[in-house]
C-alpha cells in the first residue's frame, strides 16, 4: 500500500516538475490537489479496511553491507502518512491563491517529492534509509528556497546536520555491523554515546530548535507557498521524525535528550518572544512555527508516543499559520476549506475511536468563527487581528496539548495569550520597533564568532606560519642561498687556472682509487 503511494507521488512529481509555463498553473495545481485527495481517500480506505503489507526492495545487494528500502504498511505508518497527505493538499491549496509565486506547478511538484521523501523516512527500518531520506529532504528544501541568503544559511546548517548524522550512522555501522533499527538496540559499544549525541545534534539543527533557529528564521523572506513547504513538509519535520524513529536507540536517561528537551522549551519561549516583538508578519509566522516545533518535541518527550493530538495539532497549525497571512479576498474560501479539512480530520480521528475529538471539533469551530468574525468586522489595525489570530492559534495548541504537556507549558502559553490580548508592553514595543534591533541577527554572529572564525583564524595562522614563513621565506630562501653558494663555488672551480685543474684532477684520481678499493 505505502509503496504504491510512494511510487505514485514520485511519478506525479516527476511529471509536473518540468512545467515552467505561466498559463494553466492554477488548473494543474488543482489537478494535483484532486489526485492527492484521491490518494488520501484510497489510503484512508486502506486504514479502514485494515490493509497491512510489507514491501522491501533490496537496494544494495552487497554481501558486506546489504541495504534494503522498506515500505511497511503498518498502523503507525498510516497514522503518520495520512496527516502528511492532508498537509500537502493544504499547502498546495494555499499556493493556488498565492499571487507572488510564479512557478506554482514546480513548487507543487517539490512538495509532492518532499512528501515522498518523508514517507521514505517514516517507513525506514534501517539507518541508511533514514540518512538518504533526510538528505533528500534537504536537497528538496534547497530547491524550494529561491532566495540566496536564506539558501546559504539553510544549506550550511543542514550540511552540518547531515554530516553529523552521516558520522553517527557510520560509527554505528562501523562498530556494530548492523543497520537495522530494531537490531541496533542490542548493539552496545563504547562509541555509541558519540553517535547518540550526533543524532540529537542533527535533529536539533534540522528542526531549527533554539539556538539553531537561524536558518529557519531566514526563510521568512520566502513567499507563502515555499515557506509552507519548508515549514511543514521539509527539514524541521524531518528532524522531528528522525528523533521519533531513533528514539528507541537512545536510552531514556541520555543527557542529550534532556538537553534537547530544554532546547525545545527554549524554542517555545524564543518563539513566543519573537511572535510578540517582531513586527513583520512573515517573521511572526516563522516564530509561531518555532513555538509549534518546540511544543511537539515536548509532547513527544513527555508522552513517549506520537499521539493523535500532535497529528491534529500539525494540521490545525498549518491552517492557522496560513490564515494569519491570508488576505480578506480569500478568507471565505479558506474558511470553507478549513472547515472541510478540520471536519475530515475529526472524522478520521473519530474513526479511531478517540472520544475527546468532538470537544476539539467544537473548539476549532468556535475559534475559526471568532477569527472570521474579527477578520470581517473589526476596524482595528491589522496588527491587532493578527495578534488575535496568533493568540487563537496558540490557545488551540494549548488545548490540544493539554493531555500531554506539563504545567510549565501552560504558564508560558497562558502568558503569551495574555500578553497578546492585553498588550502591556508598549514601551518595549517602541524599543523593539528600532530597525537595528528588528534586523539584528545575533545568533548568526555568535555562530560565526564561535565556529567559523576560529577555523578561519587557524587556517590563516597555519598558512602564514607554515606556507609563508617556514616554507617560502625560510626553507626556500635557505635552499636558494645554498644553491647560490654551490653555483658560486663551482663557477669558481671552473675558472681556467692551474690550481683548479689540479683540484679536479685530484678529485678524479680520488674517485678512481676509491672505486678500485671498493672493487677489491
Amino acid at each position: 500500500m505505502v509503496i504504491n503511494i510512494f511510487l505514485i507521488l514520485l511519478c506525479l512529481g516527476a511529471a509536473t516538475i518540468w512545467y515552467q509555463g505561466i498559463r494553466f498553473q492554477k488548473f494543474i495545481v488543482s489537478a494535483i490537489i484532486l489526485l492527492l485527495s484521491i490518494i488520501l481517500f484510497y489510503f484512508n480506505q486502506g486504514l479502514q479496511s485494515g490493509v497491512f503489507s510489507q514491501y522491501s526492495y533490496g537496494w544494495l545487494t552487497s554481501k558486506y553491507y546489504p541495504v534494503s528500502l522498506d515500505f511497511f504498511t503498518t498502523k503507525e505508518s498510516y497514522h503518520l502518512i495520512i496527516p502528511l497527505l492532508f498537509a500537502v493538499i493544504l499547502c498546495n491549496f494555499f499556493s493556488i491563491s498565492n499571487q507572488i509565486e510564479r512557478q506554482k506547478v514546480s513548487v507543487s511538484a517539490l512538495s509532492v517529492f518532499s512528501v515522498a521523501a518523508l514517507i521514505m523516512l517514516i517507513c525506514g527500518q534501517n539507518t541508511i534509509q533514514l540518512l538518504v531520506s533526510v538528505c533528500f529532504i534537504d536537497v528538496l528544501g534547497f530547491c524550494v528556497i529561491n532566495n540566496i541568503n536564506a539558501r546559504r544559511q539553510y544549506i550550511f546548517y543542514n550540511l552540518l546536520a547531515d554530516l553529523a548524522l552521516f558520522m553517527a550512522f557510520a560509527i554505528l555501522w562501523g562498530n556494530c555491523r548492523i543497520n537495522s533499527l530494531v537490531n541496533l538496540t542490542e548493539c552496545h559499544h563504547s562509541y555509541n554515546n558519540v553517535a547518540e549525541w550526533l543524532i540529537v545534534l542533527s535533529a536539533w539543527i534540522k528542526s531549527g530548535l533554539f539556538p539553531f533557529q537561524g536558518y529557519f528564521v531566514r526563510t521568512a523572506i520566502l513567499n507563502d507557498s515555499r515557506q509552507n513547504i519548508l515549514s511543514f513538509l521539509s527539514t524541521p519535520l524531518a528532524g522531528f521524525l528522525l528523533i521519533y524513529k531513533v528514539k528507541s536507540l537512545i536510552p531514556d536517561d541520555f543527557i542529550g535528550i534532556e538537553i534537547l528537551k530544554y532546547a525545545a522549551q527554549a524554542s517555545l519561549v524564543w518563539g513566543i518572544i519573537g511572535g510578540i516583538f517582531i513586527n513583520r508578519l512573515a517573521d511572526r509566522k516563522i516564530y509561531m512555527n518555532m513555538t509549534f516545533y518546540g511544543l511537539i518535541y515536548n509532547v513527544l518527550f513527555y508522552s513517549q508516543t506520537l499521539s493523535r493530538e500532535i497529528v491534529a495539532l500539525f494540521l490545525i497549525h498549518i491552517i492557522l499559520s496560513n490564515l494569519i497571512r491570508a488576505t480578506r479576498r480569500y478568507a471565505t474560501g479558506i474558511f470553507i476549506v478549513t472547515f472541510l479539512v478540520v471536519g475530515a480530520v475529526v472524522n478520521a480521528a473519530l474513526s479511531l475511536n478517540n472520544p475527546i475529538v468532538p470537544l476539539y471539533l467544537v473548539a476549532v469551530m468556535v475559534t475559526l468563527s471568532g477569527c472570521l468574525f474579527v477578520l470581517y468586522s473589526s476596524d482595528q489595525e491589522e496588527n491587532h487581528w493578527i495578534n488575535l489570530f496568533l493568540a487563537m492559534g496558540i490557545s488551540l495548541m494549548f488545548l490540544y496539548g493539554i493531555k500531554t504537556v506539563p504545567t510549565s507549558f501552560y504558564l508560558w502559553m497562558g502568558g503569551y495569550v495574555l500578553l497578546n490580548l492585553l498588550q502591556p508592553y508598549k514601551l518595549l514595543t517602541k524599543i523593539y520597533a528600532n530597525q537595528n534591533i528588528q534586523q539584528a541577527d545575533g545568533f548568526s554572529k555568535i555562530f560565526y564568532i564561535l565556529f567559523v572564525s576560529p577555523v578561519e583564524f587557524l587556517g590563516r595562522i597555519l598558512w602564514l606560519t607554515i606556507d609563508f614563513l617556514i616554507i617560502e621565506r625560510t626553507l626556500l630562501s635557505w635552499l636558494a642561498k645554498i644553491t647560490g653558494i654551490l653555483s658560486q663555488l663551482f663557477g669558481y672551480l671552473h675558472k681556467p687556472t692551474y690550481k683548479n685543474a689540479l683540484i679536479f684532477t685530484l678529485i678524479g684520481i680520488g674517485i678512481i682509487l676509491y672505486s678500485s678499493w671498493q672493487g677489491k
Partner: protein, 478 residues
C-alpha cells in the same frame, strides 16, 4: 581469447597512437584543431569500450590482478614486464578516460590546443600503463615516464609564470622517481627472479632488516612525493593553483592519485612487521595534511586552490581507507573515486568557464552566476554532489569507507570528518560567493550562459551521477 590476453596492451597503445596522430597532424587555425579533438575523443572512447568489455568479464570473487600478461623486455639482464588489472584499477582507469571525454572539448580554447590534446593522450596512455602495471619494473617505468608529458603540459599549456615553482615541482617529483629507481635496483639485486617481481610479492620478500627499512622507507617516500603531504604540499599546491587550463589542471591533479594508487598496489597492509610503524607515521602525517590543507582551502580566495584542497582531502581519505587492514572496501574506494573524478572534472570545467568570462568582461567574481541560470544550476548540483549530498555514488561508498575508518581508528575518523566538513564548507562558500546577488547591480554586465548543447551534455553527466547514486555499486556488485 587472443584479444583478451593482449587487451591491456591495446588499452595502452590506443591513446599512444592517438598521440602520434595528433602530433603529426596539421594545425588548422580556422577549425581550431577539430580533427585532433575528434581523434582524441575517438581514441578515448575506444578505450572506454575496451574497459567496458573488461568490466563485464572481470571476476569479482577473485582477489588480486586478473588478465595477467607478460612480455620479455630485456634478455641480459633478463627482465620481464607484466600487466594485470583488477576492479579497483579498472574503475580508476574508466574514470580517468571519462574525465578526458568531458575535458577534451574544452581543450579547443587553449593557447596550444594541439600540444594539449597530444600530451593529454600521451598522459592517458602512460597513466593506463601505470594502472595496469603488475611488476616493479613496469610500475617504475610508467611512474617516471608520466612526468615527461606532465612537465611539458605545465610548462607550456599550464602557463605557469614562475619558473621557480616549476623547478621545485620538478625536483620534488624527480627525487621521488630516483628513490623508487634505487629501490627497484635493490630489489632486483636481491631477487633477480626470471619472471620479474610482482608488486604484490614485494611485501612477502624476505630481506635483511636494514634493507627492509630502506626499501619500505623508499617506497613510502617515493609514492608520498606524488601526494601533497604536509609540509611538502606547497610544491604541488603552488603549481595546481596557478595552472590556467582546465584539462591541464585535471591531469596534474591526477598525480596525487598515482601516489595513492601506488600505495594501494604495494599492499602495505601486509608490510613486514619491522616497518609497520611507518604506516602509523604515515597515518598521522596524512591526518595532519588533511586538516591543514582543508583549512588553507577555506581561507584561500583562489577557486582553484579550493578545488585542489578538496581533492587532496578526498585523496587522503581514499589512501587511509586503502591502508586499512581489510580488502573489503577497496571496491568502494574504486567506485567512490569514479564518481569523485567525474564531479571534480565538471566543477573545474565550469569554474574555468566562469573565470574566463569574468576576465573577458572584467567583472567582479562575486555574484557572477546570478544571471546565468544554466551554469548556476549545474554548479550547484555538482557542488552539492561533491560535498556529500545523496546525488552520486560518492555518498554511499564514502559512508562505507568512513564506517570502516571509524571502526579501526575512531580518532582518525573524527579528524577526517572535521576535514570533510571544512573542505565542504569551503566549496559551498565558493558557490555562494558566486551566487551572491548583493554584488550584482542591475546595470552591470553579466556573463553569457553556457550553450544549450554544453548544458545538455553536462546535464546528462549529472543524470549519470544520479543513476550512480541509485546504483552505487555500478551494477557490478561488491
Amino acid at each position: 581469447m587472443e584479444i583478451t590476453s593482449h587487451i591491456l596492451l591495446i588499452l595502452m597503445l590506443v591513446p599512444f597512437f592517438g598521440f602520434l596522430f595528433v602530433l603529426m597532424s596539421q594545425e588548422d587555425k580556422q577549425k581550431k584543431i577539430y580533427n585532433g579533438v575528434a581523434v582524441a575523443e575517438f581514441a578515448v572512447c575506444c578505450n572506454i569500450l575496451l574497459l567496458g568489455k573488461l568490466l563485464t568479464e572481470i571476476d569479482l570473487s577473485q582477489n588480486g590482478l586478473q588478465f595477467l600478461s607478460s612480455y620479455n623486455w630485456l634478455e641480459q639482464p633478463h627482465i620481464k614486464i607484466s600487466f594485470g588489472i583488477d576492479i579497483f584499477s579498472l574503475m580508476i582507469a574508466l574514470a580517468i578516460h571519462l574525465m578526458l571525454v568531458i575535458g577534451l572539448p574544452f581543450a579547443k580554447n587553449s593557447q596550444h590546443p594541439k600540444l594539449l590534446i597530444s600530451l593529454s593522450l600521451l598522459m592517458i596512455s602512460l597513466l593506463t600503463g601505470f594502472l595496469i602495471s603488475a611488476d616493479i619494473f613496469s610500475f617504475y617505468i610508467f611512474f617516471t615516464a608520466m612526468l615527461f608529458p606532465l612537465f611539458v603540459l605545465i610548462g607550456t599549456v599550464g602557463e605557469i609564470r614562475k619558473s621557480s615553482w616549476m623547478f621545485r615541482f620538478f625536483i620534488y617529483n624527480f627525487l621521488g622517481s630516483i628513490i623508487l629507481f634505487l629501490v627497484v635496483c635493490t630489489l632486483y639485486q636481491y631477487h633477480p627472479q626470471t619472471e620479474g617481481i610482482l608488486l604484490e610479492q614485494v611485501a612477502k620478500l624476505r630481506l635483511p632488516r636494514i634493507y627492509e627499512y630502506w626499501i619500505w622507507g623508499g617506497i613510502f617516500a617515493a609514492l608520498l612525493s606524488r601526494i601533497p603531504i604536509w609540509p611538502f604540499h606547497y610544491w604541488i599546491a603552488s603549481i595546481t593553483g596557478a595552472i590556467q587550463n582546465p584539462l591541464a589542471f585535471l591531469l596534474v591533479n591526477l598525480i596525487p592519485l598515482t601516489g595513492v594508487y601506488g600505495l594501494v598496489r604495494f599492499c602495505p597492509k601486509t608490510v613486514p612487521e619491522s616497518v609497520s610503524y611507518m604506516l602509523t607515521v604515515l597515518e598521522i602525517i596524512a591526518a595532519i595534511s588533511m586538516l591543514f590543507i582543508a583549512m588553507i582551502g577555506l581561507i584561500n580566495k583562489d577557486n582553484r586552490y579550493k578545488l585542489f584542497s578538496f581533492m587532496t582531502v578526498y585523496y587522503i581519505i581514499f589512501l587511509l581507507g586503502a591502508l586499512l587492514p581489510t580488502n573489503r572496501i577497496l571496491l568502494n574506494i574504486g567506485y567512490s573515486i569514479f564518481a569523485f573524478l567525474i564531479i571534480i572534472t565538471v566543477l573545474e570545467v565550469l569554474a574555468d568557464y566562469i573565470r574566463e568570462e569574468q576576465q573577458r568582461n572584467n567583472l567582479n567574481f562575486y555574484g557572477i552566476l546570478c544571471y546565468s541560470p544554466r551554469i548556476a544550476l549545474l554548479y550547484s548540483f555538482f557542488t552539492l554532489a561533491a560535498v556529500g549530498f545523496p546525488l552520486s555514488a560518492l555518498f554511499i561508498n564514502n559512508f562505507v569507507i568512513l564506517s570502516y575508518l571509524f571502526r579501526y581508528n575512531f580518532n582518525l575518523g573524527l579528524v577526517i570528518m572535521i576535514a570533510i566538513i571544512v573542505s565542504s564548507a569551503s566549496l559551498l562558500k565558493e558557490l555562494y560567493l558566486l551566487k551572491d546577488n548583493r554584488y550584482v547591480h542591475s546595470d552591470s554586465v553579466c556573463i553569457s550562459d553556457i550553450s544549450r548543447s554544453v548544458f545538455i551534455g553536462l546535464s546528462s553527466i549529472g543524470v549519470l551521477l544520479l543513476i550512480s547514486f541509485f546504483n552505487p555499486l555500478l551494477g557490478i556488485g561488491g
